[in-house]
Symmetry: C2
Subunit: 200 residues, 2 copies
């Protein structure tokens, strides 16, 4: 499946076959591809919680307006990001680079983020979305449907998954085999509304 076909095929699917199990190798491949998504300063701050435990799934479903895909999808990922990634031994992110590049990066990344909680949170949301969109398109190619979800109580899900303070829960992502064709795609906004020439 080529890229544009995957983009056109992808829909936010809500109905999944609860009897389907995703092979471990498929999930491993999706995570491997997600790890190729870009992140600021290559900090690779995205984190994926693979919620397999059925009891946890039920609790999350209860905190997500009882949406069936939370328990029925083959995979439920809580897509998160570590807001401390920029200061967590940053030299390791540029091990492959010459010493002077490493030094420049290490000395730049901490002041870039330190004391800027909104910037740090934005980067958490942004990187986790880049990684998740990568998964959604890769999953389409592998014959899976997906759905990114923010319709849940983030405080409750944070508690259920024991997400620590330095981790931002960005969204939930379900992956599996659909049992029902998605709703026809609605009309898109006119291009003139989304594409602005030069400035507002």
């Amino acid at each position: 499946m080529n890229v544009s076909q995957a983009i056109e095929h992808r829909r936010s699917v809500k109905h999944y076959d609860p009897t389907h199990n995703m092979p471990d190798a498929d999930l491993a491949r999706l995570i491997e591809l997600a790890q190729l998504a870009p992140s600021s300063f290559n900090i690779q701050n995205y984190r994926f919680v693979n919620v397999k435990d059925k009891e946890l799934r039920k609790q999350i479903r209860a905190a997500a307006w009882d949406q069936a895909q939370v328990t029925d999808a083959s995979v439920l990922l809580a897509v998160c990001a570590d807001i401390n990634a920029h200061k967590d031994n940053p030299a390791r992110y540029w091990q492959h680079a010459p010493k002077e590049v490493q030094d420049f990066m290490v000395s730049s990344v901490t002041p870039f983020y330190e004391g800027k909680p909104q910037l740090t949170r934005d980067e958490a949301i942004r990187s986790s979305a880049f990684a998740g969109m990568t998964i959604m398109l890769a999953a389409a190619e592998m014959g899976y449907e997906t759905g990114a979800m923010i319709g849940f109580d983030p405080v409750a899900v944070t508690k259920i998954l024991q997400i620590p303070d330095h981790i931002v829960l960005s969204y939930l992502l379900v992956i599996g085999k659909s049992t029902k064709v998605a709703w026809p795609r609605g009309e898109r906004l006119p291009r003139s509304e989304v594409l602005i020439q030069d400035h507002f």
Copy 2:
């Protein structure tokens, strides 16, 4: 190019051929595909500023640590999102749906976002990243290189592009023909660090 090839091919490229012009049809196709990226409640809140004006490009470059790709890339998009999209005549986002679905969506989306500035900003960053990752992979298929950038002064760029208060500037995205092979990709974090089983 299939999806996994595009994901593996994509790198954050910094060196572009300044003499290359992207055909309008290619940019139109990229935006068309970006508009298929998911957004919460289908609010399609992403907005793309296509900065063609050379003087504006120079000003942005000056506000972006003088990074050459800002002026040299064929296309510079300021990828933004409208934080008021959820209340900007929301019925139009579900024109294609039956009346009861429309009514449910319209009555749900405003209370979901209203009075929650962090949630609204998160959704702005998230949707604009989903859309931009879509562009990056589609551009790879079309023979272009890309680079998402946050290394700039957001206050200065907001001023240069006259971005109004209800629009969040999420990141810059350059697209063009590269003149220099990207740095070899660094080692990725071990999977055990990014993939968490069941809960933290």
